[in-house]
């Protein structure tokens, strides 16, 4: 009976065989054909961790670290492990109530689930950190501290030079697509942090880690076979003198303006003060966001680096170059004299002059004679060797560009402005071709009108004069630890000697500038024991068509022989140049050359200047309006928006995610939307450097010294 069913074994075998084939075919498609599962497995089973290298440090010329790294701690929580810990004690240390505690825990659970760590309180202050550290055992294992490297400014100075870091945004990521940034990274936003980002950031490492089903890290993948090590950022050695910088910042307190000091031999920047500035430490640590928004909304625009981002008419400091050019063009010589009897009458309407007399070049510089330099420039422009006024003015402009004016100098800091040197095109555009002559722009001869320069350009002009005919583009960084792989420092190895001018001509200018210090307008800027060559300037200006108090200017280099420092100082709306700018320059020179301020009288002078308050009244009132607006929160949102836009446009700082702060304003704004009329509180008084000199004022004759 059973033998009749013998053939059925083949049916069974066929069934087994088919099943095995089906399974193997399925395995083939799963494991070899489809790549979907491989990707899914990598996504959930491995974790690509970016290892951040230490960011490069920045040193000053004496090897002092002025920007370094430090560690701040975040308090982390794993909500699934907090049962049985003393919540009250923790709340007391952190200064929060239980409602806030519950809110944070819930947020943590929503964000990261309860068995994964979340930040409970970021960037603990030193005080909280100390208390927590002592008591941490009471909160373990649900809470622990996690290191977070942040930047630290040991001297808390030079914020505008050093810059700060901020989280990268989508625009940045798009721009730097293949440079290894991911969202959440920090990158330099301004200052050296930005311009040397490539060098400072170092090279990121990548660690491949294994994850388990609850997203916990369980160890390294393949014992780190595929990992790449992080390489720390390169250190920068700068030419800054951090003590000089701090001293400069103190001197400029409660003043609006700038100081730039350059080593003329190297082009290295010794100090670069923009005032009002901010303490860079405000932008590290637990209160960063709050401070950042405050600074951004401040009508004094502390983020603006005025030394390169604002420009002013150079005023009388410009006369030195005008004289030099006159000598070089042979329209005058050192002995040529012009007489001044109260005004320059060359153009019908007189241009006032305060120093009547007959002046040769040296005396004209020393006494800052307007008439003299009007004559000089008139001769340059009307020089018969040029066929018409267009070509002569353009030739003049080319000289000025060669002296580093009206062009970007190429300093290693971001957002440098070029300033302005007028050319024929400038006036053709305003008045039409052939419808202007020297008299149209005579005020340019004394550094007013269409000529504008940044404080850095003025300092560089001093370096050029000091070197008798060459300059190296001013820069902050001297050398890069481990080599300049990106050629960032190449531009600072070139000596710019565009025009070949005889040394003797420079001596003539130096004589005049030395005279300024000894018998002229800069007597108050004398530095005991040092021969300084300087030039004062008093710059007329107006804001929104309203004439403002003059800007005080002073530029100098010292010592006259073998000069080691070239300096430019501007105090906005401080009046006569000799009263504030000159003594500040003199103190800076003394501090740098002698390493300290000597003598009781000089020290008192320094203290007196530090205390001097030269805040322009319009800015004081702007501050007052700002403060009161900040209290009226409903309109603050609009103000904030306006200010942030203005501040960004002015400082050139790229976007930062300030939407949080704005949202806060927005919330309260909504509530009070219909209660108040907002038109009266619109930003009427943001103070912008661009608005300082409207073009329409330029042809007015003006006094200048």
């Amino acid at each position: 009976m059973s033998s009749s069913n013998h053939s059925r074994k083949n049916v069974v075998k066929l069934m087994f065989g088919l099943t095995v084939i089906i399974i193997i075919v399925r395995l083939f498609t799963l494991q070899l054909v489809s790549s979907k599962y491989k990707t899914l497995a990598d996504d959930q089973g491995t974790f690509r961790k970016v290892v951040y290298p230490d960011r490069g440090l920045i040193y000053d010329r004496k090897g002092r670290a002025i920007l370094q790294n430090t560690i701040i701690y975040d308090l982390m929580v794993v909500p699934s492990k907090i049962k049985g810990t003393d919540t009250m004690a923790l709340c007391n240390i952190l200064g929060i109530d239980t409602a806030e505690f519950r809110k944070r825990i819930i947020t943590a659970i929503i964000k990261n689930r309860s068995y994964r760590p979340s930040v409970f309180e970021p960037l603990l202050s030193d005080e909280k950190m100390a208390k927590l550290n002592e008591n941490l055992y009471r909160f373990a294992p649900g809470y622990y501290l996690q290191e977070r490297p942040v930047r630290d400014y040991p001297y808390d100075a030079g914020g505008n030079i050093l810059g700060y870091l901020s989280e990268v945004d989508t625009n940045f990521l798009k721009k730097h697509e293949n440079e290894g940034y991911v969202s959440g990274d920090y990158a330099g936003k301004t200052g050296l942090e930005l311009s040397y980002e490539k060098v400072l950031m170092g090279q990121r490492g990548i660690e491949y880690l294994k994850r388990d089903n609850k997203n916990r890290i369980t160890g390294k993948l393949e014992n780190g076979l595929y990992d790449t090590a992080a390489i720390s950022g390169q250190n920068l050695y700068t030419s800054l003198d951090i003590e000089l910088q701090s001293f400069g910042e103190e001197l400029m307190e409660n003043k609006v303006g700038a100081i730039v000091a350059i080593d003329p031999q190297t082009g290295g920047i010794l100090a670069m003060v923009s005032s009002p500035t901010y303490k860079p430490r405000l932008l590290t640590g637990s209160e960063r966001k709050k401070h950042y928004v405050e600074l951004l909304l401040d009508p004094r625009i502390p983020f603006l680096n005025r030394t390169i981002g604002a420009y002013y008419a150079p005023g009388s400091t410009f006369k030195t170059l005008q004289g030099l050019l006159g000598l070089h063009e042979r329209v005058i010589d050192a002995k040529t004299t012009f007489s001044c009897n109260g005004a320059f009458y060359g153009c019908g309407k007189p241009m006032r002059c305060l120093d009547p007399g007959v002046w040769a070049l040296q005396g004209a510089i020393t006494h800052s004679c307007n008439t003299y330099f009007a004559h000089v420039m008139q001769r340059v422009i009307n020089n018969p060797k040029y066929e018409n006024i267009d070509s002569s003015l353009n030739a003049w402009a080319r000289y000025m560009n060669a002296f580093g004016l009206g062009v970007k100098l190429g300093v290693d800091l971001p957002f440098e402005k070029a300033g302005r040197i007028p050319t024929a095109a400038t006036y053709n555009k305003i008045y039409g071709k052939g419808r202007w002559n020297f008299c149209t722009f005579r005020s340019v001869s004394i550094g007013q009108g269409e000529v504008e320069s940044t404080p850095l350009q003025v300092a560089n002009e001093m370096a050029y004069l000091a070197n008798k005919g060459w300059y190296i583009a001013p820069h902050v960084v001297d050398s890069i630890d481990g080599g300049d792989k990106f050629g960032l420092l190449e531009p600072y190895k070139i000596k710019h000697t565009a025009v070949d001018i005889a040394d003797s001509l420079f001596e003539a200018i130096h004589d005049g500038m030395q005279g300024v210090m000894e018998s002229g307008t800069g007597r108050r800027a004398k530095v005991p024991g040092i021969v300084v060559c300087g030039k004062t300037g008093t710059v007329e200006n107006s804001y929104k068509g309203v004439k403002q108090k003059d800007h005080a200017f002073f530029s100098a280099f010292a010592p006259r022989h073998n000069p080691r420092i070239a300096i430019a100082v501007i105090c906005e709306n401080a009046g006569f140049g000799a009263s504030s700018a000159a003594p500040i320059a003199s103190l800076m020179i003394e501090k740098y050359l002698k390493d300290s301020i000597e003598g009781k009288e000089r020290k008192e002078r320094a203290e007196q200047i530090k205390k001097m308050n030269l805040m322009p009244p319009r800015l004081v009132s702007a501050m007052r309006t700002h403060d009161s607006l900040m209290h009226k929160r409903d309109s603050a949102y609009l103000i904030a928006k306006g200010y942030i836009k203005i501040a960004k446009d002015t400082t050139g700082i790229a976007e930062e995610d300030d939407s949080d702060a704005l949202d806060n304003f927005k919330k309260t704004e909504k509530e009070n939307k219909n209660k108040e009329n907002r038109t009266d509180s619109l930003p009427t008084s943001a103070i912008l450097p661009g608005a300082m000199r409207p073009l329409s004022d330029t042809s007015k004759p003006r006094t200048n010294r």
């Binding site: 009976m1 059973s2 399974i23 599962y37 491989k38 294994k210």
Partner: protein
Amino acid sequence: MSNQPVIAKGVDWLTVWLYALLVIIGLISIFSAEYKTGDDFFQQLLGFEKNYSKQVMYFGICLVIAVFILLSDSKVFPATANLLYVVGVVLMIATFLIGKEVKGSKSWIPLGFMNLQPVETAKIFTSLALAKYLSLPDLDLKQPRSQAIAAGIAFLPIVFSVLQNETGLALVYFAFLLPMYREGLPSVYLISGASLAGLLIVTLLLPTNTLMLVLTVLAALIILFMRKSFKRNSKSLLMIVLFWGASMLFVGMVVPFMFKSVFQKHQADRIFSLVGKDNPFISADTAVMDTKKPVRKKPVENYNVKQSKIAIGSGGLTGKGFLKGTQTQGDFVPEQHTDFIFTAVGENFGFVGSTLVVLLYAALLFRIIFLAERQRSTFSRAYAYCVAGILFFHVLVNIGMTIGLAPVIGITLPLMSYGGSSLLTFTILIFILLKLDSDRQMVIR
């Protein structure tokens, strides 16, 4: 013959090697699913705290029992088959009284060193009893009475399994259709079983009304085309009408009834998730509860199956290497050491490794058929087919569910999955077969 018991005599060593190889691969896989870098291997092995170390212990016990079986007299198995079957049934009943609940199923009897699952071990007794019945002289499986008795013996444990919430294990007993088929059960059962399964799948895939319409149209078309032959043979018309009626009944009544009342909700869901659909047969009370939950539009693939497929699918050609599988090491696959042990092989050793394992099972199955067919006694052959059937069903469904071809019904991968009961059952099943085979010359029945 000789009084000297020689274990090795006449034993089919190929089967033994295949058995040992699969158990060892299983041990390695359990180890890889459990071991974490830095664990103290020796301490854990000796401490019997970890699953793999326990499995080593079970393997030891199994080897002792295997030797014991090989030393026994092969006559004892047919002689005690019916008695053992009764013992098995008693054990299954006893489970209701002294059973211990493990993972929602009260089907375990604690023995101290391990938990015994009578429904699992009952496979042995059922195999023996069924073989015994099938080897009765003059048995004709074409007769409904014999069919009913054979089915009764084979399917009685299903009742206990279902009552103990072990539906997956219950399904295994359908594997006994294989020896019954081999011993003369008419093919129509297998064919109608297969068409029923086919109809079931279509029922799951298509809406009931559409399917009923299609079936009716199909029947009408057949009648239309065959109307001439009906004049000669009116019986075939009746057959077609009967088939149509049965299908309609199945589609319209039986399947909904099974999914509403027989299967657990999660089981029904799993079966539907396999064909990529939501379970439409949710009974009224659960439906009310479900309305409170957000409605999911897309059927969610079973988490276990998804993780299992990810683990296997990421293995590639040669796998990630021993202890290097990220999914295995990260505990992503639930129940990996038991029902989903195949995923560890798939991830760590890739297509090569998993195919090798499948081929090892195939070799074992074919070897068992080979052994079966060389038996002189019907008892031994029928028993061998029982073993082959059970093994085949387990391997097919277990591997099938790890690669998304079969519903997740929670049955082990024979010899490889962690678990004393399962390993012990298959060891005993295989070694009784080996004992019977080694004595095939002397036992003539």
